[in-house]
Symmetry: C2
Amino acid sequence: MPKLRVESFTISLDGFGAGPDQDLNNPLGIGGTALHGWAIPTKTFQKNLFGNDSGETGVDEDFAARGFQNVGAWILGRNMFGPVRGPWPDESWRGWWGDNPVYHVPVFVLTHHARPPLVMEGGTTFHFVTEGPVVALERARAAAGGKDVRVGGGVNTIQQYLRLGLIDEMHIAISPVLLGDGERLFEGVDLTALGYTCMQHVASAQATHIVLTKQ
Amino acid sequence: MPKLRVESFTISLDGFGAGPDQDLNNPLGIGGTALHGWAIPTKTFQKNLFGNDSGETGVDEDFAARGFQNVGAWILGRNMFGPVRGPWPDESWRGWWGDNPVYHVPVFVLTHHARPPLVMEGGTTFHFVTEGPVVALERARAAAGGKDVRVGGGVNTIQQYLRLGLIDEMHIAISPVLLGDGERLFEGVDLTALGYTCMQHVASAQATHIVLTKQ
């Protein structure tokens, strides 16, 4: 049975998945970029984000790499797709990731505002889903061709799927930074009551990696 | 200048310093004992809690040991001293720690209900302070003889001192367990605005240790 997975989602020591005041210049909120100190140097991120063939190996790379293994479709919250809020003023916003986004598979974007599918280079197509998270997951599963579906984020989107009991596995990285304020990943989500336990716990110099699995 | 320190205070992956439903049988709340998996086997805890001369060394022990170094007095919240709530019905409750508590220095217990000092074996005297956290700290500093003061907990007491900007240094252990509910250590405390940064980040198989310092 294909899984619904969260991978490489990073929170601060004080529990925030994004800093305060997210906008075009601070897509992860103020201070939020520091969260990804563990990920940026890895071979996987260097290759996927910058096209570099160098990059570090080790614990951080192992977790970065597994996030792209056996993933047939992604689900993103609308705020992760871009900073535009409310009805789409036009179709000029095409995501944060340039003409050839890192996904290379169908990506389903949760939004309250309809928009035609957006076909990008390299196999990524953004589909905009207005019927809520359950329908988005059905469509993602159908598009994934038997592979897993990965929920990219943000915090609110992950929380919706957690509360629906639909996420099978979560890799979370805890970065040694403080954000002070922002969106707390586990706010109002009782992971114990939902049946999650910590199955893996490995640290590098840059982050503590945990894998939570639903029983 | 002597410091006000938090040491060996443990939170879960979801940020809780104690589980739900604390009572006589579950002083750390349901599931809370699992938080201390890293600490119990250490040489320091085996010696201090059980009088054993065996016990593990390594990263966890290093952090357990530093918590007792240069500490001249402690401050505890009343709920950490015991499960009795409201006015003291009598003086029969003498703490969780037997006749010879682990402190061996003066301990100042924050409470709304006056009670005479309680002299225990081994150098520990519990003083009950009804005038609030600032007065408790003044008294603790005076009693500490130039050494540091350690805030033992619980969550509410640490939060009070954090919001007052009085804690100089915090060693927090993050245990690979989920509690789901309970008291969240960093709830309503903006560590960035208060001037804290993470100065140290070391993991063992049992916990991630962080040291936060106020600038």
